[in-house]
Protein backbone atom coordinates (compact mmCIF):
# COMPACT_ATOMS: atom_id res chain seq x y z
CA UNK A 1 0.00 0.00 0.00
CA UNK A 2 2.86 2.33 0.98
CA UNK A 3 4.74 1.32 -2.12
CA UNK A 4 1.75 2.03 -4.31
CA UNK A 5 1.41 5.43 -2.71
CA UNK A 6 5.08 6.19 -3.36
CA UNK A 7 4.81 5.22 -7.02
CA UNK A 8 1.68 7.32 -7.31
CA UNK A 9 3.54 10.30 -5.88
CA UNK A 10 6.43 9.89 -8.30
CA UNK A 11 4.11 9.61 -11.29
CA UNK A 12 2.29 12.68 -10.13
CA UNK A 13 5.54 14.62 -9.79
CA UNK A 14 6.71 13.55 -13.27
CA UNK A 15 3.31 14.44 -14.67
CA UNK A 16 3.44 17.90 -13.09
CA UNK A 17 6.99 18.40 -14.35
CA UNK A 18 6.09 17.31 -17.87
CA UNK A 19 3.05 19.54 -17.92
CA UNK A 20 5.11 22.47 -16.71
CA UNK A 21 7.74 21.77 -19.38
CA UNK A 22 5.21 21.56 -22.18
CA UNK A 23 3.38 24.65 -20.96
CA UNK A 24 6.71 26.49 -20.66
CA UNK A 25 7.68 25.63 -24.22
CA UNK A 26 4.35 26.71 -25.54
CA UNK A 27 4.44 30.07 -23.83
CA UNK A 28 8.05 31.10 -24.73
CA UNK A 29 7.32 34.17 -26.87
CA UNK A 30 8.49 34.45 -30.50
CA UNK A 31 11.71 36.49 -30.71
CA UNK A 32 10.72 39.16 -33.20
CA UNK A 33 13.23 41.85 -32.07
CA UNK A 34 15.50 41.46 -35.08
CA UNK A 35 12.57 41.81 -37.50
CA UNK A 36 10.89 44.72 -35.76
CA UNK A 37 14.13 46.67 -35.31
CA UNK A 38 14.98 46.01 -38.98
CA UNK A 39 11.59 47.33 -40.05
CA UNK A 40 11.99 50.39 -37.81
CA UNK A 41 15.46 51.06 -39.25
CA UNK A 42 14.09 50.87 -42.79
CA UNK A 43 11.34 53.33 -41.91
CA UNK A 44 13.84 55.70 -40.33
CA UNK A 45 16.06 55.82 -43.41
CA UNK A 46 13.02 56.70 -45.55
CA UNK A 47 12.39 53.34 -47.24
CA UNK A 48 8.77 54.27 -47.90
CA UNK A 49 9.99 57.09 -50.21
CA UNK A 50 12.06 54.77 -52.42
CA UNK A 51 9.86 52.44 -54.55
CA UNK A 52 12.04 49.29 -54.39
CA UNK A 53 12.81 49.80 -50.71
CA UNK A 54 9.12 50.44 -49.96
CA UNK A 55 8.24 47.10 -51.57
CA UNK A 56 10.67 45.17 -49.36
CA UNK A 57 9.58 47.10 -46.28
CA UNK A 58 6.01 46.06 -47.02
CA UNK A 59 7.06 42.44 -47.53
CA UNK A 60 8.94 42.48 -44.21
CA UNK A 61 5.85 43.76 -42.38
CA UNK A 62 3.64 41.09 -43.95
CA UNK A 63 6.14 38.35 -43.16
CA UNK A 64 6.35 39.49 -39.55
CA UNK A 65 2.58 39.34 -39.26
CA UNK A 66 2.53 35.90 -40.85
CA UNK A 67 5.21 34.71 -38.41
CA UNK A 68 3.20 36.00 -35.47
CA UNK A 69 0.10 34.22 -36.79
CA UNK A 70 2.04 30.98 -37.19
CA UNK A 71 3.37 31.33 -33.62
CA UNK A 72 -0.11 31.95 -32.31
CA UNK A 73 -1.16 28.83 -34.16
CA UNK A 74 1.53 26.90 -32.29
CA UNK A 75 3.75 26.45 -35.36
CA UNK A 76 6.72 27.92 -33.64
CA UNK A 77 9.48 26.55 -35.91
CA UNK A 78 7.74 27.67 -39.06
CA UNK A 79 7.18 31.05 -37.45
CA UNK A 80 10.92 31.38 -36.74
CA UNK A 81 11.70 30.39 -40.30
CA UNK A 82 9.24 33.00 -41.57
CA UNK A 83 10.92 35.63 -39.40
CA UNK A 84 14.16 35.05 -41.35
CA UNK A 85 12.32 36.33 -44.43
CA UNK A 86 11.14 39.42 -42.58
CA UNK A 87 14.66 40.18 -41.36
CA UNK A 88 16.16 39.71 -44.85
CA UNK A 89 13.57 42.00 -46.47
CA UNK A 90 13.96 44.70 -43.80
CA UNK A 91 17.74 44.59 -44.19
CA UNK A 92 17.43 44.89 -47.98
CA UNK A 93 14.98 47.82 -47.62
CA UNK A 94 17.57 49.69 -45.53
CA UNK A 95 20.32 49.04 -48.10
CA UNK A 96 18.13 50.11 -51.03
CA UNK A 97 17.20 53.36 -49.22
CA UNK A 98 20.87 54.11 -48.60
CA UNK A 99 21.74 53.29 -52.19
CA UNK A 100 19.13 55.78 -53.40
CA UNK A 101 20.40 58.49 -51.03
CA UNK A 102 24.02 57.94 -52.09
CA UNK A 103 23.03 58.03 -55.74
CA UNK A 104 21.23 61.35 -55.29
CA UNK A 105 24.20 62.78 -53.39
CA UNK A 106 26.60 61.64 -56.15
CA UNK A 107 24.41 63.19 -58.86
CA UNK A 108 24.24 66.45 -56.88
CA UNK A 109 28.03 66.49 -56.50
CA UNK A 110 28.55 65.91 -60.23
CA UNK A 111 26.01 68.63 -61.00
CA UNK A 112 27.83 71.07 -58.70
CA UNK A 113 31.07 70.44 -60.60
CA UNK A 114 29.31 70.89 -63.94
CA UNK A 115 27.76 74.17 -62.81
CA UNK A 116 31.03 75.45 -61.37
CA UNK A 117 32.78 74.73 -64.66
CA UNK A 118 29.96 76.22 -66.71
CA UNK A 119 29.92 79.42 -64.66
CA UNK A 120 33.67 79.93 -64.53
CA UNK A 121 35.35 78.36 -67.53
Amino acid sequence: MRTVFRIGNAVFAVAILATALVAGCATVPLRTEASTSGIRAAEEVGASQVPRAALHLQLAKEELKKAEALAADGRKEQAKSQLMRAEADAELAVALSRESAEKTAAQDAVERVRKLRQDNE
Binding site: H56, E77, Q78, S81, Q82, M84, R85, E87, A88, D89, E91, L92, A95, L96, R98, E99, E102, K103, A105, A106, A109, V110, R112, V113, L116, R117, N120, E121
Partner: protein, 297 residues
Protein backbone atom coordinates in the same frame (compact mmCIF):
# COMPACT_ATOMS: atom_id res chain seq x y z
CA UNK B 1 0.32 -8.19 -70.76
CA UNK B 2 -0.80 -7.33 -67.26
CA UNK B 3 2.76 -7.63 -65.99
CA UNK B 4 3.96 -5.35 -68.76
CA UNK B 5 1.33 -2.70 -67.91
CA UNK B 6 2.31 -2.92 -64.27
CA UNK B 7 5.99 -2.43 -65.13
CA UNK B 8 5.19 0.65 -67.26
CA UNK B 9 3.04 2.10 -64.51
CA UNK B 10 5.81 1.56 -61.95
CA UNK B 11 8.38 3.10 -64.29
CA UNK B 12 6.19 6.17 -64.86
CA UNK B 13 5.55 6.57 -61.18
CA UNK B 14 9.29 6.25 -60.52
CA UNK B 15 10.12 8.87 -63.15
CA UNK B 16 7.50 11.23 -61.76
CA UNK B 17 8.84 10.78 -58.28
CA UNK B 18 12.40 11.33 -59.47
CA UNK B 19 11.48 14.50 -61.37
CA UNK B 20 9.58 15.84 -58.35
CA UNK B 21 12.60 15.19 -56.21
CA UNK B 22 15.05 17.01 -58.53
CA UNK B 23 12.93 20.03 -59.54
CA UNK B 24 14.05 22.95 -57.46
CA UNK B 25 11.35 25.23 -56.06
CA UNK B 26 10.95 28.70 -57.59
CA UNK B 27 12.52 30.34 -54.51
CA UNK B 28 15.71 28.33 -54.99
CA UNK B 29 15.81 29.06 -58.73
CA UNK B 30 15.44 32.76 -57.94
CA UNK B 31 18.19 32.53 -55.32
CA UNK B 32 20.57 30.83 -57.77
CA UNK B 33 19.89 33.47 -60.45
CA UNK B 34 20.28 36.30 -57.97
CA UNK B 35 23.63 34.97 -56.79
CA UNK B 36 24.76 34.45 -60.39
CA UNK B 37 23.89 38.03 -61.22
CA UNK B 38 25.54 39.46 -58.11
CA UNK B 39 28.76 37.49 -58.52
CA UNK B 40 29.06 38.61 -62.16
CA UNK B 41 28.57 42.26 -61.21
CA UNK B 42 30.58 44.86 -59.29
CA UNK B 43 29.80 43.15 -55.96
CA UNK B 44 32.59 40.66 -56.71
CA UNK B 45 35.00 43.60 -56.55
CA UNK B 46 33.61 45.95 -53.94
CA UNK B 47 31.19 43.90 -51.77
CA UNK B 48 33.04 40.64 -51.33
CA UNK B 49 31.98 40.18 -47.69
CA UNK B 50 28.28 40.54 -48.56
CA UNK B 51 28.71 38.26 -51.56
CA UNK B 52 30.30 35.66 -49.29
CA UNK B 53 27.30 35.85 -46.93
CA UNK B 54 25.01 35.39 -49.95
CA UNK B 55 27.03 32.38 -51.04
CA UNK B 56 26.78 30.79 -47.60
CA UNK B 57 23.01 31.42 -47.53
CA UNK B 58 22.63 29.79 -50.95
CA UNK B 59 24.74 26.80 -49.87
CA UNK B 60 22.58 26.36 -46.78
CA UNK B 61 19.42 26.51 -48.91
CA UNK B 62 20.85 23.99 -51.39
CA UNK B 63 21.74 21.65 -48.53
CA UNK B 64 18.26 22.00 -47.07
CA UNK B 65 16.82 21.29 -50.53
CA UNK B 66 18.85 18.09 -50.75
CA UNK B 67 17.85 17.00 -47.22
CA UNK B 68 14.26 18.25 -47.11
CA UNK B 69 13.22 19.19 -50.65
CA UNK B 70 9.61 19.94 -49.77
CA UNK B 71 10.07 21.65 -46.44
CA UNK B 72 8.97 25.22 -45.73
CA UNK B 73 12.46 25.71 -44.29
CA UNK B 74 14.05 25.08 -47.72
CA UNK B 75 11.77 27.70 -49.27
CA UNK B 76 12.49 30.22 -46.52
CA UNK B 77 16.27 29.64 -46.72
CA UNK B 78 16.17 30.05 -50.53
CA UNK B 79 14.15 33.24 -50.15
CA UNK B 80 16.69 34.63 -47.66
CA UNK B 81 19.58 33.57 -49.96
CA UNK B 82 18.00 35.58 -52.81
CA UNK B 83 17.71 38.65 -50.57
CA UNK B 84 21.36 38.30 -49.47
CA UNK B 85 22.50 38.35 -53.10
CA UNK B 86 20.34 41.42 -53.75
CA UNK B 87 21.81 42.99 -50.62
CA UNK B 88 25.34 42.37 -51.97
CA UNK B 89 24.39 44.14 -55.20
CA UNK B 90 22.88 47.10 -53.33
CA UNK B 91 25.99 47.33 -51.16
CA UNK B 92 28.21 47.37 -54.25
CA UNK B 93 26.06 50.13 -55.69
CA UNK B 94 26.41 52.15 -52.46
CA UNK B 95 30.21 51.78 -52.59
CA UNK B 96 30.27 52.91 -56.23
CA UNK B 97 28.03 55.91 -55.60
CA UNK B 98 30.28 56.95 -52.71
CA UNK B 99 33.27 56.70 -55.01
CA UNK B 100 31.45 58.85 -57.55
CA UNK B 101 30.79 61.41 -54.83
CA UNK B 102 34.43 61.39 -53.75
CA UNK B 103 35.53 61.79 -57.36
CA UNK B 104 33.09 64.67 -57.89
CA UNK B 105 34.33 66.37 -54.72
CA UNK B 106 37.90 65.96 -55.95
CA UNK B 107 36.90 67.40 -59.33
CA UNK B 108 35.18 70.28 -57.56
CA UNK B 109 38.26 71.10 -55.49
CA UNK B 110 40.52 70.78 -58.52
CA UNK B 111 38.24 72.98 -60.64
CA UNK B 112 37.95 75.50 -57.82
CA UNK B 113 41.75 75.63 -57.54
CA UNK B 114 42.08 76.17 -61.28
CA UNK B 115 39.51 78.96 -61.17
CA UNK B 116 41.31 80.63 -58.26
CA UNK B 117 44.60 80.43 -60.17
CA UNK B 118 42.97 81.85 -63.28
CA UNK B 119 41.33 84.64 -61.30
CA UNK B 120 44.64 85.46 -59.62
CA UNK B 121 46.35 85.57 -63.00
CA UNK B 122 43.61 87.80 -64.45
CA UNK B 123 43.79 90.03 -61.39
CA UNK B 124 47.55 90.29 -61.72
CA UNK B 125 47.20 91.16 -65.40
CA UNK B 126 44.54 93.74 -64.61
CA UNK B 127 46.73 95.22 -61.89
CA UNK B 128 49.64 95.29 -64.33
CA UNK B 129 47.50 96.98 -66.96
CA UNK B 130 46.23 99.42 -64.36
CA UNK B 131 49.78 100.24 -63.28
CA UNK B 132 50.79 100.71 -66.93
CA UNK B 133 47.79 102.91 -67.45
CA UNK B 134 48.66 104.92 -64.36
CA UNK B 135 52.25 105.20 -65.51
CA UNK B 136 51.24 106.29 -69.00
CA UNK B 137 48.68 108.64 -67.44
CA UNK B 138 51.47 110.14 -65.38
CA UNK B 139 53.63 110.43 -68.48
CA UNK B 140 50.82 112.25 -70.29
CA UNK B 141 50.21 114.49 -67.28
CA UNK B 142 53.92 115.21 -67.00
CA UNK B 143 54.08 115.97 -70.70
CA UNK B 144 51.08 118.29 -70.47
CA UNK B 145 52.65 120.02 -67.50
CA UNK B 146 55.95 120.38 -69.37
CA UNK B 147 54.13 121.76 -72.40
CA UNK B 148 52.26 124.17 -70.19
CA UNK B 149 55.50 125.36 -68.61
CA UNK B 150 57.16 125.62 -72.02
CA UNK B 151 54.21 127.57 -73.40
CA UNK B 152 54.24 129.95 -70.45
CA UNK B 153 57.98 130.36 -70.92
CA UNK B 154 57.55 131.01 -74.65
CA UNK B 155 54.81 133.51 -73.98
CA UNK B 156 57.02 135.23 -71.44
CA UNK B 157 59.91 135.25 -73.91
CA UNK B 158 57.67 136.71 -76.59
CA UNK B 159 56.47 139.38 -74.22
CA UNK B 160 60.07 140.12 -73.23
CA UNK B 161 61.14 140.19 -76.87
CA UNK B 162 58.36 142.60 -77.79
CA UNK B 163 59.27 144.83 -74.89
CA UNK B 164 62.89 144.82 -76.10
CA UNK B 165 61.73 145.57 -79.65
CA UNK B 166 59.69 148.50 -78.45
CA UNK B 167 62.92 150.07 -77.29
CA UNK B 168 64.56 149.59 -80.72
CA UNK B 169 61.77 150.49 -83.09
CA UNK B 170 58.16 151.46 -83.25
CA UNK B 171 56.07 148.45 -82.43
CA UNK B 172 52.36 148.31 -83.06
CA UNK B 173 49.94 145.52 -82.40
CA UNK B 174 47.64 145.36 -85.38
CA UNK B 175 45.12 142.87 -86.71
CA UNK B 176 47.66 141.46 -89.16
CA UNK B 177 50.15 140.88 -86.34
CA UNK B 178 52.91 142.70 -84.50
CA UNK B 179 54.31 145.41 -86.76
CA UNK B 180 57.90 146.64 -86.28
CA UNK B 181 58.54 149.80 -88.22
CA UNK B 182 62.10 150.74 -89.11
CA UNK B 183 62.86 154.13 -90.55
CA UNK B 184 64.09 154.04 -94.14
CA UNK B 185 66.65 156.78 -93.52
CA UNK B 186 68.31 154.67 -90.85
CA UNK B 187 68.56 151.65 -93.16
CA UNK B 188 69.28 152.91 -96.62
CA UNK B 189 71.04 155.80 -98.43
CA UNK B 190 68.76 157.81 -100.72
CA UNK B 191 67.42 155.76 -103.64
CA UNK B 192 69.60 152.80 -102.60
CA UNK B 193 68.62 149.35 -101.57
CA UNK B 194 71.90 148.27 -99.91
CA UNK B 195 71.81 148.32 -96.14
CA UNK B 196 73.94 150.95 -94.42
CA UNK B 197 76.55 149.65 -91.91
CA UNK B 198 74.73 151.23 -88.97
CA UNK B 199 71.51 149.75 -90.28
CA UNK B 200 73.02 146.34 -89.82
CA UNK B 201 73.84 147.10 -86.19
CA UNK B 202 70.24 148.14 -85.70
CA UNK B 203 68.90 145.12 -87.55
CA UNK B 204 71.14 142.79 -85.52
CA UNK B 205 69.38 143.95 -82.39
CA UNK B 206 65.98 143.36 -84.04
CA UNK B 207 67.08 139.95 -85.36
CA UNK B 208 68.27 138.91 -81.89
CA UNK B 209 64.77 139.52 -80.61
CA UNK B 210 63.07 137.94 -83.64
CA UNK B 211 65.10 134.79 -83.24
CA UNK B 212 63.43 134.16 -79.88
CA UNK B 213 60.17 133.67 -81.82
CA UNK B 214 61.73 132.02 -84.81
CA UNK B 215 58.84 129.70 -85.52
CA UNK B 216 56.55 132.57 -86.61
CA UNK B 217 56.12 133.78 -90.12
CA UNK B 218 57.55 137.20 -90.97
CA UNK B 219 56.43 139.58 -93.71
CA UNK B 220 58.92 142.26 -94.68
CA UNK B 221 57.24 145.21 -96.43
CA UNK B 222 59.13 148.04 -98.15
CA UNK B 223 57.41 151.46 -98.39
CA UNK B 224 58.49 154.71 -100.11
CA UNK B 225 57.33 158.34 -100.12
CA UNK B 226 55.51 159.77 -103.12
CA UNK B 227 58.53 161.29 -104.79
CA UNK B 228 59.58 159.63 -108.05
CA UNK B 229 57.54 157.44 -110.34
CA UNK B 230 55.27 154.69 -109.01
CA UNK B 231 57.16 151.96 -110.83
CA UNK B 232 60.48 153.16 -109.54
CA UNK B 233 59.12 153.38 -106.02
CA UNK B 234 57.57 149.93 -106.31
CA UNK B 235 60.84 148.46 -107.53
CA UNK B 236 62.87 150.30 -104.89
CA UNK B 237 60.54 149.20 -102.10
CA UNK B 238 60.80 145.57 -103.32
CA UNK B 239 64.58 145.68 -103.41
CA UNK B 240 64.74 147.22 -99.97
CA UNK B 241 62.34 144.63 -98.57
CA UNK B 242 64.47 141.91 -100.21
CA UNK B 243 67.61 143.37 -98.62
CA UNK B 244 66.10 143.25 -95.17
CA UNK B 245 64.70 139.79 -95.78
CA UNK B 246 68.09 138.50 -96.97
CA UNK B 247 69.75 139.96 -93.93
CA UNK B 248 67.27 138.28 -91.60
CA UNK B 249 67.81 134.94 -93.33
CA UNK B 250 71.60 135.38 -93.25
CA UNK B 251 71.30 136.09 -89.55
CA UNK B 252 69.65 132.72 -88.96
CA UNK B 253 65.94 133.16 -89.53
CA UNK B 254 64.26 130.32 -91.44
CA UNK B 255 64.07 131.43 -95.10
CA UNK B 256 60.74 129.72 -95.73
CA UNK B 257 59.15 131.76 -92.98
CA UNK B 258 60.18 135.19 -94.34
CA UNK B 259 58.53 136.85 -97.37
CA UNK B 260 59.35 140.26 -98.80
CA UNK B 261 56.82 142.56 -100.46
CA UNK B 262 57.53 145.89 -102.22
CA UNK B 263 54.54 148.09 -101.45
CA UNK B 264 55.70 151.27 -103.31
CA UNK B 265 54.22 154.58 -102.22
CA UNK B 266 50.65 153.39 -101.89
CA UNK B 267 50.51 152.93 -98.09
CA UNK B 268 51.64 156.16 -96.52
CA UNK B 269 51.49 156.58 -92.76
CA UNK B 270 52.05 160.34 -92.87
CA UNK B 271 51.58 163.37 -95.11
CA UNK B 272 53.86 163.24 -98.16
CA UNK B 273 53.54 167.04 -98.42
CA UNK B 274 55.93 167.71 -95.53
CA UNK B 275 59.53 166.54 -95.18
CA UNK B 276 58.81 164.82 -91.78
CA UNK B 277 55.84 163.06 -93.30
CA UNK B 278 57.83 161.77 -96.22
CA UNK B 279 60.61 160.66 -93.84
CA UNK B 280 58.04 158.63 -91.90
CA UNK B 281 56.61 157.15 -95.09
CA UNK B 282 60.05 155.87 -96.14
CA UNK B 283 60.15 152.79 -94.01
CA UNK B 284 60.42 149.03 -93.74
CA UNK B 285 57.83 147.17 -91.72
CA UNK B 286 58.46 143.70 -90.32
CA UNK B 287 55.15 142.03 -89.50
CA UNK B 288 55.31 139.12 -87.09
CA UNK B 289 52.29 136.96 -87.68
CA UNK B 290 50.24 135.98 -84.66
CA UNK B 291 51.08 132.72 -82.95
CA UNK B 292 48.98 129.89 -84.39
CA UNK B 293 46.18 128.80 -82.08
CA UNK B 294 46.80 125.21 -80.85
CA UNK B 295 44.31 122.72 -79.56
CA UNK B 296 45.89 122.74 -76.12
CA UNK B 297 45.50 126.43 -75.64
Amino acid sequence: MNTQMLLITIACTGLLAASCATTAPQELVNARNAYQQASNGPASQVAQAELHVAHKALTTAEQSFRDYPDSYRTLDLAYVAQRKSELAEATASIVNERRNQAQAKEDFTETQGRIVEKTKKNLSQTQGALADSERSGKVVADKLQAEKVARAKAEQETADALAALAKLAAVKNEARGMVITLSGSVLFASNQSALLPEAKTRLDQVVAVLLTTRERKLVVEGHTDSQGSDSFNLDLSQRRADSVRDYLVQSGYEGDLVVAHGMGEGHPVADNGAPEGRANNRRVEIIIERAPQTANQ
